[in-house]
């Protein structure tokens, strides 16, 4: 067309668009824009690996340089998804090894990655730079050795929270002597000890190293060696934070910390010996992110440390901090945006620490920028939730876990409907909500009416009837992910809102009352949904149709039905007759 810009100019303009949403919008303008855009899209994010197939992605976007993908549903984190369910990355790697020789980045979450996949990555992508495996599993340290040895330009190797079969620490020594490109190394999930001298030399020759997260096996006495070789570090994860109490160890450590003037993030802190905490004080004023969720230090030491970090924006901590510590936090850390409090004794019958709803209330009062909360506690009241909601109307993520399922308001013994209702009513920007405690259908009515920007909702042991589910599915306009366990939700709400499911990424329901018959119906009527029945009791048609399924996972997809289903997963679709023959 004579009036339009030359392709190169359009491409250049599009290169400034980074968000997928913008790029998708651009693709819809006209055919030529669609074509130009698809040839210059470099980053692809796939929120559900089964929503699309490798071929479809490669066909549409031939020049991808970075892939980010998620596999298993979130509840897999809590062992609700049986082993072998799926989310294998290998077919993707295989396809991309041929289609994307220039691929630079792979970021995966909750996927099964094998050594074979890692080796294929190491061999196929000459310019490979970034590998982030978050909560993945299925590979060993041998696979890591391949990556270390072959990826000449490796910048990031981040294994956060993955389950790695740790054969030895030898993999680290596979980084060649001329590897100087590392920017980020996170090996905190590994158990074995790596060769310290190899680690030291690696750190010394990588001048751009910004993030170094060590594993527990790296001894504290040796940490100064690393810090001196990487004073430019921005994020540090220590190893075990314990050593014999000797003044020379302490002073070395303190001196090494004082050299790292750029430190903003700290994590690690296994096995803390409190006597060594003051060694860090010199960096505290610059710290914005502090992860003490493995640190079994008690309140006074905790409070002392946290109070020094006046610029703290994110704090992850165990409930040893107690209400008193949270009050101190609220008083000192006015920039706090995110707080996560994990339970130190989640299975204990009684509380072992003095942490109640009051701690959270204090933080909500004292920290004007608080927007993201994950809080485990043993008691909650509607009054507290209402207070929190009124204090922090700009809350974005609110995840509350009261350890006892269906715990009522401990003051009034009423359900916590009012409290959570206040949260969704006041916090109009709320995007993520997890609820626990005693909850009736009423709370879902509040959510359906008010939570218009809610994207992810997690429910457990809540509700009275299908009406609850119906409120959510019909009211929450922005809902993308819904995960439910042990709630009395059945067929009616699900079937009545079937079309809604196509507007969402996925729905998980386990230990609910959805019958096999309804699942079949849903699968038949909605061809663009994959309706997976996960049931370890055997084929669902060996039981009456009205029998509830154990687990149901529904997600929209443009791919064919997946070929890697294990024996306990049944796909409900038009071909279900074939499935059961």
């Amino acid at each position: 067309m004579a009036y339009s810009f030359p392709e190169e100019v359009l491409e250049h303009v599009f290169s400034f668009l980074s968000s997928d949403r913008d790029r998708n919008a651009v693709s819809l303008v006209c055919k030529s824009w669609y074509e130009i855009e698809r040839w210059c899209r470099r980053r692809v994010f796939i929120g559900n690996c089964y929503a699309v197939s490798p071929d479809i992605v490669i066909r549409r976007f031939p020049e991808v340089r970075a892939l980010e993908m998620k596999g298993k549903p979130h509840f897999a984190d809590f062992n609700l998804v049986p082993e072998g369910w799926g989310a294998y990355v290998h077919p993707w790697i295989r396809a991309m090894s041929e289609a994307y020789p220039l691929l630079e980045e792979i970021k995966l979450k909750r996927m099964v990655v094998t050594d074979e996949s890692l080796e294929l990555i190491a061999r196929s992508f000459k310019n490979f730079k970034v590998l982030v495996l978050s909560s993945c599993e299925g590979f060993t340290t041998d696979g890591l050795a391949s990556i270390a040895a072959n990826c000449r330009n490796l910048r990031e190797l981040d294994l956060r929270e993955s389950e790695v079969e740790d054969l030895s620490g030898h993999w680290l020594s596979h980084f060649p002597d001329n590897c100087t490109s590392l920017v980020s190394l996170n090996m905190s999930c590994l158990g074995s000890e790596v060769s310290f001298s190899a680690l030291e030399r690696l750190v010394a020759r990588c001048p751009n190293l910004r993030t170094l997260r060590l594993n527990r096996a790296v001894p504290l006495e040796k940490l100064p060696n690393l810090l001196h070789r990487a004073p430019q570090l921005v994020e540090l994860g220590t190893g075990a934070y314990s050593a014999d109490i000797r003044s020379d160890i302490f002073s070395n450590l303190a001196e090494a910390f004082s050299v790292c003037k750029q430190l903003k993030g700290l994590s690690g802190f296994w096995d803390v010996v409190p006597a060594f905490l003051p060694a860090m004080y010199s960096v505290c004023s610059g710290i914005t992110s502090l992860n003490l969720s493995y640190a079994t230090i008690q309140s006074p030491d905790l409070v002392k440390l946290v109070s020094q970090c006046r610029n703290l924006q994110r704090l992850w901590v165990l409930d040893y901090i107690e209400d008193s510590g949270l009050e101190a936090l609220a008083a000192s850390c006015k920039d706090l945006q995110e707080l996560r409090v994990f339970p130190s004794d989640p299975f204990g019958a009684e509380p072992n620490v003095a942490l109640t709803e009051q701690g959270l209330v204090s933080v909500s009062e004292g920290c004007p920028k608080l927007q993201s909360v994950l809080y485990f506690c043993r008691q909650m009241s509607n009054a507290a939730l209402v207070t929190i909601a009124r204090n922090r109307p700009e809350m974005i993520r609110f995840r509350l876990c009261i350890i006892e399922p269906q715990a009522p308001d401990y003051l009034t013994l009423e359900p916590l409907d009012t409290g959570f209702g206040a949260i969704v009513e006041n916090c109009k920007e709320l995007r993520r909500l997890s609820m626990t405690g005693l909850l009736t259908d009423k709370v879902f009515e509040y959510i359906g009416n008010h939570a218009k920007k809610l994207e992810m909702l997690s429910i457990a042991f809540a509700g009275d009837s299908d009406l609850g589910l119906h409120h959510v599915l019909s009211g929450c306009k922005s809902l993308r992910k819904l995960e439910i366990r042990d709630c009395p939700f059945g067929d009616k709400a699900l079937l009545a809102n079937a079309a809604k499911l196509e507007t969402m990424r996925s729905l998980w329901m386990s230990s609910c009352s959805v019958s096999f018959g309804a699942c079949k119906l849903l699968g038949q009527k909605m061809p663009r949904l994959n309706v997976e029945v996960i049931d370890e009791r055997g084929p669902p048609d060996s039981r009456p149709e009205s029998c509830p399924v154990e687990k149901l996972y529904v997600y929209r997809t443009v791919a064919e039905r997946r070929a890697d289903m294990p024996g306990f997963v049944w796909m409900m679709d038009g071909d279900k007759a074939l499935a059961f023959s």
Partner: protein, 355 residues
Amino acid sequence: MSPPLLGVEGQSQCNVSLMASSASADRVAKNGLGLKERNYLGLSDCSSVDSSAVSSVPEEKKSNLNLKATELRLGLPGSQSPERESDFTLLGPSKLDEKQLFPLIPSKDGICLLSQKTVVSGNKRGFSDTVDGFSESKSTVFNDGSWMFNPASSDSGQTKLAGNAGINVMLSNRSSGTQPSVKTEVPGNTSKECSNKMNGSNTNSAPASKAQVVGWPPIRSFRKNSLAPTSKNNDEVDGKPGPGALFVKVSMDGAPYLRKVDLRTYSTYQELSSALEKMFSCFTLGQCGPQGAPSRETLSESKLRDLLHGSEYVLTYEDKDGDWMLVGDVPWEMFIDSCKRLKIMKGSDAIGLEC
């Protein structure tokens, strides 16, 4: 019975609400009149203070909580310790300076937060049986699966859900015709499966903790594995449980015989201090020795306290090197590692030790 607790609206006619509410009713019934007894902090003594103070100023509640919480208890799990007055137990300033714990002088500056946890677990013991018994029965109520089917019984088509272009509800009603007949077999089948599954996980759990539901609480396994193996008296900082008893002799100037204590039953200096106080109180009460101790035959309780917490006595220990050290300087774990024996010295004798 229409349970007021759940605020059930007209529409939901399923038995599940009855089930859940009967659980709550049980909760209320078991606790009698007590809204108070369901006290998650385990401070049953001050529960009434807790509840009534919540509606008013939070600080008041907090200070009440703290006072009660700093009451000393012997560290042995399962023991119900006698009441102690709070000023007896106020310890060092918020900066945990363990040196201040010994000599046995009360420092009225502040509240030792460290003791709260041990207190909580200590005096909660008696309550736990009720809680455990209750929670187990409650968890089977919603674990047995039978409640899950009751909503289906309400599927008589009365509530027509106006969904977004959903599948015609009539279709599900058709199948509901067959439901009543099969409903009875199904609960038996699935609930058995469900409870088997739950029981399977139950048998693995420690006897003192609640019946564990699969995947609950929602904590990732690597996080669970990283935590210390939980003990009821969980003050272990390093997560290394003691490998057995560690008895050391304790002597006191002027006492006719020595005692032995197992250092592993304590996890803080505070606990050790209170245990020793108890152990040696009899000696100071009846003392009429020539060393200048009061030779009155009866001493009042307060006088005893003054004695122990006055500058009269100082707790010291002999370390691996044979040196006599003041108790309280080093972290507890380190102290246990190096302590060979304890000695309650008279203050005047302890001048040579660094204070």
